[in-house]
Symmetry: C2
Subunit: 193 residues, 2 copies
DNA sequence: TGTACATCAGTGAACGCGCGTTCACTGATGTAC
DNA sequence: TGTACATCAGTGAACGCGCGTTCACTGATGTAC
């Protein structure tokens, strides 16, 4: 059985969770040590008992955000599959939903940080590339057996690009029209049910 | 005939050009007043004779980057069309080229800033949305007459998402494979020549 | 069970640095006569 | 054409502020006996 986490571990985890949300909401530059600590109910002085540097926090937060977003997406896909949707349709409709459009801080980290990823330190870049491969793998899992890796890559790219452009246009008719267009195009091509 | 620009106007333009490149290379947070002025061959003190604030510079730089990227893409598309490619193929192969993968600071501003756009001030957001609509319009122009606005939206989203994910994977085999996958998928579907 | 002590998580003041912004000043350009 | 003056673009020192980081200290938790 797993030993129950110490107070220190609980706090550490809470800081990372807060940072993982701040990272998606505000971007890399928007994650401040004092701010994160305050949101975790602590003072900023204690930070360096948990992390050697702000960069180390970012690395943990990025990995956490990846797991977090994937877990949420996984739950939503399962719900839709339980209602009889194909795996691919469940993914496309979850990812390109109005909910995901608005919910940046709990959503897909690749969509939230896509254009900033290649500007980070080598460590963060490597971890970011891992997040991208994870998203492609998630898409691949929803494809039927004859689905190719190339198809998974293209679908993942379209999902990310659509969500970003829709967020830029805003959570209004324009943004929603963009989501709707991508949903029907993807489903028409890859899920002709 | 156009009056020739004053010294002041020439300098102003030079600052904006430098900022437009810095913006795409480093993101919004990576554009520093002192840095831009230095790259423009000036000292930072003179900045406020040209712009009321750093934000005002960002607004001009964003618009400039949009025109700049579109102009470059336009030239490349024309070159390819002159060699007999269809407009759509020319766009897809230019946008998803290895060159564009590496050339962030002179390339498409929507790809360079996509995930940061919705976090900016209302003025910058509005201008960013304009850049997105501009990209969609550019795609629309390359579609055959029966092409729909929805198709243009989806293609634009795929282009942006693919370029970002490829840049995150790196200018190596992985990144290039992603570009190649999207090129052939888009051409197979929308340009069955 | 109770007492004394060690360990540990967190506090809050202070630091150095970079950045946006301001401003008095300089040197060059242009204009009046 | 030449001189005197006004205008203007750019300089460089200085400012205030926020942020990452450090550190001496406190109060609570746990351990030894």
């Amino acid at each position: 059985m797993p030993t129950q986490p110490s107070r220190r571990e609980t706090t550490h985890e809470r800081i990372v969770e807060v940072a993982a949300r701040a990272l998606r909401r505000n971007g890399y530059a928007g994650v401040g040590v004092a701010d994160v600590m305050k949101q975790a109910g602590l003072t900023h002085g204690g930070f360096y008992a948990h992390f050697p540097s702000r960069d180390a926090l970012l690395a943990e937060a990025l990995a956490h955000a990846g797991r977090d977003g994937a877990a949420l997406m996984g739950r939503r896909i399962s719900q839709r599959q339980a209602r009889g949707q194909s795996a691919l349709r469940a993914l496309v409709e979850s990812y390109l939903s109005d909910t995901h459009l608005r919910e940046v801080e709990g959503g897909c980290v690749v969509a939230a940080l896509g254009s900033e990823m290649h500007r980070q330190t080598p460590e963060l870049q490597a971890s970011s590339a891992e997040r991208v491969r994870g998203l492609i793998a998630l898409v691949q899992q929803t494809l039927p057996a004859q689905g190719t890796p190339e198809q998974a890559m293209v679908i993942a790219s379209t999902l990310v690009g659509t969500l970003q452009l829709a967020r830029t246009l805003g959570a209004n008719a324009q943004g929603r029209a963009l989501l709707a267009a991508a949903r029907s195009a993807l489903l028409a091509q890859y899920d002709p049910a």
